[in-house]
């Protein structure tokens, strides 16, 4: 076993190389001290101020927190998202940037190209060169092609170093693909070293064996194959769907510490399972832009009545678990403005009050009604809370719902994602987060329905004490 001292010396070489290079990349598996490398490089080895860019606000918060922990003076760094940094310039100079979109709410698809245009202007180049002595980009595997082009342009102005792990590149969508890692390594040319001390698992009484096994598993994952779990520290179980709820609860209660249940990449867990988890104090992680709320607000401020009703039903049934069939039917009729004669006094009142189908007022009253019912649980508590706030402000001020939504999301930007004791979320949502225990819930034909090998790697590397892989029986 390598002693820690030896590791740290090796890492120091990487930090020094990072600080000195005018262009280069560092590859780092999950949990191997990428953030630490940035903090130490900037704090100990760089002179002047570095522009440190990453992708998510959570990432920015994490970096900023660590800089403060290490007492690195703020004059030495500026941390931001690539999007936020580019937007800061583009919204000031839309004409120079050939940016035609709104300057209030960013048109993200155009912002990076617009910033590339701006960076051809001397006054912008000077502004960047005056402000920084170098640029460090974290999580580079998440860069889209447009972002990559922007960073390459910056590289011609200032020393530009990047860190990333191609195995964690799980963002990217069909219309906006991620940059290919081989293009990245060609562009940045200098391999400044590899970080391979599994710091996350060496700390305290974490699971060192798990850390080491994850390093060895990378080979198979890179070849898009399942890692070899034999003699591994991964706890593998196969569970039938019927048993899943009770088994999950038992597992959850066995684990001492922060625990996360990780589901598929792009869709929620089965509604019943999710409800069970929520009833056992498990919070459902939601993306920053509260996508469930977004798919309600857009139709709600639109013209089509049927879309409004459908979106409202979808939102309420997605947000609340434990609704019985007749409750759902009742809610649906109110939202669609259909007549009904319920016996219950509560329901009668609602029927009399709301005859116009889906309105923000009806939604607010229905939420109150659902929350008074026994046996229901709120799964998307953040979306519901935001909706209440938006609907109440809309009632009082008459402000446009979309504007209120944008405002609400803007405010959330600077909130660090709260850490929950127990939570559940997709691989996209847990990326960059760290838990004591992780329970991965995977479909049998996972490559087709659940996510790819990179999603699996991201999921496997989230827990620092134990990782449990629960596979649903066919």
């Amino acid at each position: 076993m390598l002693c820690l001292h030896g590791y740290s010396e090796m890492s120091d070489d990487v930090y020094r190389a990072l600080a000195r290079a005018s262009s280069g990349f560092v590859e780092s598996p999950a949990g191997c001290g990428k953030t630490e490398a940035i903090i130490r490089t900037v704090g100990d080895h760089c002179s002047g101020r570095q522009l440190v860019l990453t992708h998510t606000n959570a990432g920015v918060d994490a970096l900023r927190e660590r800089f403060i922990q290490h007492s690195v003076p703020t004059a030495k760094y500026h941390v931001g998202t690539i999007a936020g940094w580019a937007w800061g310039w583009v919204r000031k100079y839309p004409d120079n940037a050939d940016y035609a979109g709104s300057t209030d709410i960013a048109d993200w698809n155009d912002v990076y190209a617009a910033m590339s245009v701006l960076l051809q202007k001397d006054f912008v180049k000077l502004g960047v060169v005056n402000s920084y002595t170098g640029i460090i980009v974290d999580e580079y595997q998440d860069c889209t092609v447009a972002m990559h082009q922007l960073i390459v342009q910056l590289k011609s102005l200032l020393p530009c170093r990047i860190l990333g792990d191609d195995l964690q590149g799980i963002f990217g969508f069909r219309a906006d693909p991620l940059i290919d890692w081989s293009v990245v390594t060609r562009e940045f040319a200098n391999n400044l070293g590899v970080l391979q001390t599994p710091h996350r698992w060496l700390k305290g009484n974490n699971n060192e064996a798990l850390g080491r096994w994850l390093l060895t598993a990378r080979g198979k994952i890179r070849q898009k194959e399942e890692p070899n779990y034999e003699d591994s520290p991964i706890d593998r179980r196969t569970v039938s769907y019927a048993d899943l709820g009770s088994r999950l609860i038992r597992l959850l209660h066995e684990k001492q510490g922060r625990t996360c249940v990780i589901g598929p990449k792009a869709r929620p867990l089965p509604a019943g399972i999710e409800t069970t988890l929520v009833k056992n104090n498990c919070r459902v992680l939601e993306p920053n832009e509260l996508s469930a709320l977004r798919s309600l607000i857009l139709p709600l401020s639109g013209q089509s009545p049927t879309e409004k009703c459908k979106a409202a039903c979808d939102f309420l049934f997605r947000s609340y678990g434990g609704l019985a069939g007749n409750d759902k039917a009742f809610i649906k009729k109110i939202l669609y403005g259909e007549k009904q004669r319920p016996r219950h006094a509560d329901k009668c009142l609602l029927c009399e009050k709301h005859t116009k189908g889906t309105t923000p007022e009806a939604l607010l009253d229905l939420i109150k009604y659902i929350e008074r019912m026994d046996g229901t649980s709120c799964k998307l508590s953040e979306s519901v809370r935001a909706l209440k706030c938006i609907a109440e402000r809309h009632q009082e001020t008459g402000t446009d719902l979309k504007a209120l939504y944008a405002d609400e999301i803007g405010k959330r930007k600077h909130h660090t994602r709260s850490s929950f004791y127990r939570c559940t979320g997709s691989t996209l949502l847990v990326k960059g987060l760290e838990f004591d225990h992780v329970i991965i819930l995977r479909d049998a034909d996972w490559q087709r329905k659940w996510g790819n090998h990179k999603d699996l790697y991201v999921a496997l590397t989230r827990g620092c004490k134990t990782t449990t892989l629960v596979e649903l029986a066919m």
Partner: protein
């Protein structure tokens, strides 16, 4: 940095001003109360690194505190290799507040291939709290995109006022030129507080007066004891508050004399020299009344030094010496005008083509608000004499009404010069004779009148000399001829009378003698005398003409052409008084 554009709203006498500054040396001229000094004060307030600035209701135009004071100054042409400028234009400071600059002022964004500028705005509302910010584009609304700029950052602009307020700059007080030259003053405060402590500690008890004080102290001690307060030792000691000696107590001395006690001129020169040392000379100096306290040769020296330095200078003047030194073509002279609604207009004299010669020759003329364009030297002399004659009658002399005479140097130039002066905002009148219809036509005269000029012209075919000999009572002719000779350097009375009597045109008049007192009155003789005086230039110098008219004006009948037309001109001068 260079000031490129200024907009002022509701500040003191200025309701509105928009000025595009073109050169590196801009001298503002114009009559009193056109807010020249206010413009300099506005620039100083907006740009210099002062942190404390007290405003009162009287700083608002017409004391109307509901209209916000806005002073917005747009600068460009900075040296972005300089460390402090680079620091100023970082993302965390003002990199994202660079703006564009067009003909009408600042633009929110630089135009393609257009200049890159930065615009600083000082706003004061009825709270009287000054707020400085950097704005992209014209500062139109309180809530537009702006970023506060503090005194320390404004120091980068390198603006100092180097005039009557310059005494403070000879100290190491806050943000003075000396402090900036010393890199912020360093540990001066420590040294001075140390000194203060030393003063407190020093023994003064042996001084006679202090011993008197000690006796009082002793009495109080015993009285206090009687009242039950026991004091150990009561004595007079110096009580220095720490603030009582600030860094401004440290000032430049010439031997034992503080520089502030020096003459105005000397201080001005030293102040300007110190300012040139700031920011390696790339600074902006604001100098009110450049000439104050300086002899002509020192004025020329200072202007030469200022122009050859790297800095931008904005100054005002009332001195023809200064005006003569400036190059109109380089936009060094700006004419300032203010209308009754408080709109102030600054226009470069360069809009008048080929006026440099006039500026050199008649610098005084451009310092007033009204200019009488005279055809030649004789007319200027005539007006000067008229002035004196009015003064004799307890009327205000023309010059006190901010009017000057300009010698246009010939009838053919009057029309263009006069109309250009009107364009610049001067009130112009024309004084010309009427013997050369080929040089100034009746159409020309009509056009000038239409443009607002007052025209004073003699009768047809008359030069000034003709009109004089036509108008003067016959019995005064001998004395007039005599006066012409007295005023003239070389002309003899005999030569004059000889020339007249021997002129072939008077042959039929039987003058017989050279004694004008016995010549019979006749129109042709008056005409001949006028001709000779005109052709031979008997009065063609300002002092010649002045002397002759000083004599003649007293004798000309009130109904004569000269008197009535000059009186009308004088009425115009008075009527137009601001």
């Amino acid at each position: 940095m260079r000031i490129k554009h200024i907009e002022i709203r509701n500040f003191r006498g200025i309701k509105f001003l928009r000025w595009q500054v073109k050169g590196n040396f801009s001298c503002i001229i114009g009559p009193g109360d056109t807010c020249k000094t206010t413009i300099l004060a506005a620039l100083d307030y907006a740009l210099s690194p002062r942190s404390v600035l007290t405003f009162g209701d009287s700083d608002f135009y017409d004391q109307d505190v509901n209209e916000v004071i806005v002073i917005q100054v747009t600068l460009a042409e900075w040296d972005e290799t300089r460390e402090d400028v680079r620091h100023f234009f970082q993302e965390s400071k003002f990199a994202q507040y660079k703006c564009g600059l067009g003909d009408t002022g600042p633009l929110p964004e630089p135009a393609p291939d257009g200049p890159v500028a930065v615009s600083i705005s000082l706003r004061v509302d009825k709270s009287l709290e000054p707020r400085w910010s950097v704005v992209r584009g014209r500062d139109e609304q309180e809530d537009q995109d702006r970023k506060p700029i503090y005194a320390a950052d404004r120091a980068v602009l390198g603006v100092s006022r180097v005039d009557i307020f310059s005494d403070f700059h000879f100290t190491w007080g806050r943000n003075t030129i000396l402090t900036r030259l010393s890199g912020g003053g360093g540990n001066l405060n420590t040294v001075l507080s140390g000194l203060t402590r030393d003063i407190r500690e020093c023994d003064i008890s042996r001084n006679d007066c202090i011993q008197e004080c000690q006796k009082v102290a002793d009495t109080i001690k015993s009285e206090a004891q009687n009242s039950g307060v026991c004091l150990a030792d009561l004595s007079p000691r110096i009580d220095m508050h720490r603030q009582s000696i600030g860094t401004s107590a440290l000032s430049l001395h010439d031997n034992n004399v503080p520089l502030r006690s020096k003459g105005d001129g000397t201080k001005r020169l030293i102040g300007a020299a110190m300012q040139m040392k700031l920011n390696s000379g790339k600074t902006i100096s604001l100098i009110d009344e450049l000439e104050v306290g300086l002899e002509p040769h020192r004025i020329r020296g200072l202007i030469c030094k200022l122009k050859s330095s790297n800095q931008q200078v904005i100054t005002t003047t009332h001195s023809p010496v200064v005006v003569r030194e400036l190059i109109v073509e380089d936009n060094e002279l700006y004419v300032c005008r203010r209308d009754t609604a408080g709109t102030v207009r600054l226009e470069s004299l360069a809009v008048v083509p080929a006026i440099q010669g006039q500026v050199r020759a008649n610098a005084e003329a451009f310092l007033g608000s009204k200019i009488v364009c005279c055809e030649g030297l004789t007319e200027v002399g005539c007006l000067r004499a008229y002035d004196i004659s009015r003064f004799d009658k307890n009327n205000p002399p023309v010059w006190s009404l901010a009017t000057s005479y300009l010698n246009c140097g010939g009838a053919n130039k009057i029309r263009s010069v006069c109309s250009q002066l009107i364009d610049l905002g001067y009130d112009a009148a024309v004084l010309c004779d009427n013997d050369r219809p080929d040089q100034i036509t009746t159409d020309d005269i009509r056009n000038l009148q239409a443009a607002g000029a007052h025209v004073c012209q003699w009768d047809s075919e008359n030069a000034t000399e003709h009109q004089l000999f036509a108008d003067i009572p016959w019995q005064d002719i001998p004395a007039l001829l005599n006066t012409i000779c007295i005023c003239h350097d070389t002309l003899e009375f005999a030569t004059v009378t000889d020339a007249i009597s021997k002129d072939p045109r008077v042959e039929g008049l039987c003058l017989c003698t050279n004694d004008p007192s016995v010549w019979p009155e006749s129109e042709p003789l008056r005409r001949v005398m006028g001709d000779l005086a005109h052709e031979r230039g008997w009065m063609k110098r300002i002092d010649y003409a002045e002397g002759v008219f000083e004599f003649a004006l007293k004798r000309l009948p009130e109904t004569s052409v000269i008197r009535t037309r000059l009186d009308a001109l004088f009425t115009w001068i008075q009527r137009n008084e601001r």
